[in-house]
């Protein structure tokens, strides 16, 4: 685990230095470099994340909670991650207006995804009420 974080930090610092060197001449390639650095770091942690998700899923199974809630939760995390990734790339390139639109879209989609959970909560409240 320590080796992994050392690897990731070294990769990030090396990529940052390269990006600063290139940014003066070719800012468009520098943006793509930062994008690819983000992707590489994601793949370095992807295996561990999959293991954590499997663990959480198995406990959801054991606790007899509806697997739908877990899936929705996971989807929300995924949407938040992708949206953050894209928005940060746009913001780095100086397009903060597009970045805020991406974030708005992510919020709307997350709300739409959470509708079944909110509905079940409201139905529970209604069924408790006399």
């Amino acid at each position: 685990m320590l080796l992994d974080i050392i690897q990731i930090v070294g990769l990030g610092i090396a990529a940052t230095i390269i990006i600063i060197v290139i940014k003066a001449q070719k800012p468009e390639i520098a943006i793509q470099l930062s994008l690819i650095t983000g992707i590489v770091i994601f793949f370095l942690i992807a295996g561990k994340f999959a293991a954590i998700v499997d663990l959480l899923g198995s406990y959801f199974d054991k606790a007899d909670i509806d697997i739908m809630y877990f899936t929705v939760l996971l989807k929300i995390v995924g949407i938040a991650y992708i949206a953050e990734f894209g928005a940060e790339i746009c913001r780095d390139a100086g397009e903060s207006s597009i970045a805020s639109k991406i974030e708005l879209a992510a919020k709307v989609i997350i709300m739409a995804l959470a509708v079944p959970i909110i509905t079940s909560l409201l139905e529970l409240v209604i069924s408790i009420m006399p």
């Binding site: 390269i18 390639i29 690819i36 590489v40």
Partner: protein
């Protein structure tokens, strides 16, 4: 299993490859524009951008597929 295979393919070498293309393109651009061939310089910039974009797009597709598999979409 698929994740570990992908990890081997990409890594710091991908970053170095894109950095090399960027430096090469900027050097070529300067040489060409100093020697008075501005149109070739623009074309070189465009070609370098497209090559890098193709590499990046492949990895973006890879990332989105992995996220789709990982977050149960």
């Amino acid at each position: 299993m698929r994740l570990t295979e992908e990890k081997k393919v990409m890594g710091i070498d991908l970053i170095f490859r894109i950095a090399a293309i960027g430096i090469l393109v900027s050097v070529l651009n300067q040489v060409l524009s100093r020697s008075g061939r501005d149109e070739y310089a623009t074309m070189t910039t465009l070609a370098g951008l497209v090559v890098v974009l193709l590499m990046v797009i492949k990895e973006i597709v890879n990332l989105f597929d992995t996220i789709k598999a990982m977050f149960h979409f």
